[in-house]
């Protein structure tokens, strides 16, 4: 029987890797993938707590997170394709139209 702490540590590790990906990568698609990693880590925490507290609510919340994650991925990728069509680049550091 694996204790709860190990699930939480695993989830924290995945979340931290996702944060690293968002911060150091200079490609919008990889940034989006890293956000998916973080959402997965949070889902894992929800399921682990749902299991160890003997409650079903955590699993229900995971479905809402998945729905929002799917919506976010679809709209995000549409924006990425649109941006690429205009600028021929996906480097977030080149997107500074609003900077003055």
């Amino acid at each position: 029987m694996v204790p709860l702490n190990h699930y939480l540590i695993l989830s924290a590790a995945i979340f931290a890797i996702g944060v690293v990906g968002v911060v150091i990568r200079r490609n919008l698609i990889v940034v989006l993938m890293s956000i998916e990693l973080m959402l997965n880590a949070v889902n894992l925490t929800f399921i682990a707590f749902s299991r160890f507290l003997g409650s079903m609510e955590g699993q229900v919340v995971v479905f809402f997170v998945m729905a929002v994650a799917a919506a976010e991925a679809v709209v995000g990728l549409a924006i990425i394709i649109s941006v690429f069509r205009h600028r021929q680049s996906l480097d977030p550091q080149e997107m500074q139209l609003l900077k003055w």
């Binding site: 540590i9 931290a16 200079r26 490609n27 990889v30 890293s34 699993q59 809402f64 998945m66 990728l77």
Partner: protein, 166 residues
């Protein structure tokens, strides 16, 4: 160490390893395909936690949906041949400091907090209970989620279509 514990650590290692490839690989194609390992590994851990329905949905939505979508975006936006310049990294040292602090705080929280636990854990099919909760306690969020998905569907089509000059 029993067999199931060993399998848990194996799946966890695969998950973390492919997550690291996603974040650190220089080639965006490798990143996209490693996402498969992460999603499948997380689904395996859901099965360990007795969440059978969530694991199936994870495979359907993430592996079957989001991953294919990401691969399509990669193929649509990049000249695959010049992968070297597509996925550069920036600002490593401040990023690693921030993330180190984050990991430390998370690990401390996990270790210090006395988590409340259920007395005994039962393995049972979860689908019926989830359905009951969706159509009873969480009916309004359930309907809102379908509205969000519809809006995302229309929004994605509107954003990504080609503009037609009149």
């Amino acid at each position: 160490m029993t067999v199931s514990t060993a399998v848990f650590y194996l799946v966890a290692a695969i998950t973390i390893g492919s997550a690291m490839i996603v974040a650190f690989s220089r080639n965006i194609i490798y990143s996209a395909f490693s996402l498969l390992g992460t999603f499948a590994g997380v689904a395996g851990i859901y099965i360990f936690l007795g969440a059978d329905f969530v694991a199936a949905v994870q495979v359907l939505i993430y592996v079957g949906g989001i991953l294919v979508l990401v691969l399509f975006a990669v193929m649509l936006t990049h000249r695959i041949t010049d992968v070297e310049i597509t996925n550069r990294a920036a600002g490593r040292i401040p990023a690693l400091i921030v993330v180190g602090v984050l990991v430390y705080l998370l690990a401390q929280t996990v270790r210090e907090t006395p988590w409340a636990k259920a007395k005994e854990i039962v393995y049972a099919a979860t689908t019926a209970k989830i359905g009951d909760l969706f159509l009873d306690t969480y009916l309004l969020p359930f309907e809102l989620a379908s509205l969000v998905l519809l809006a995302a569907l229309i929004g994605a089509v509107v954003i990504s279509r080609k503009e037609i000059k009149e």
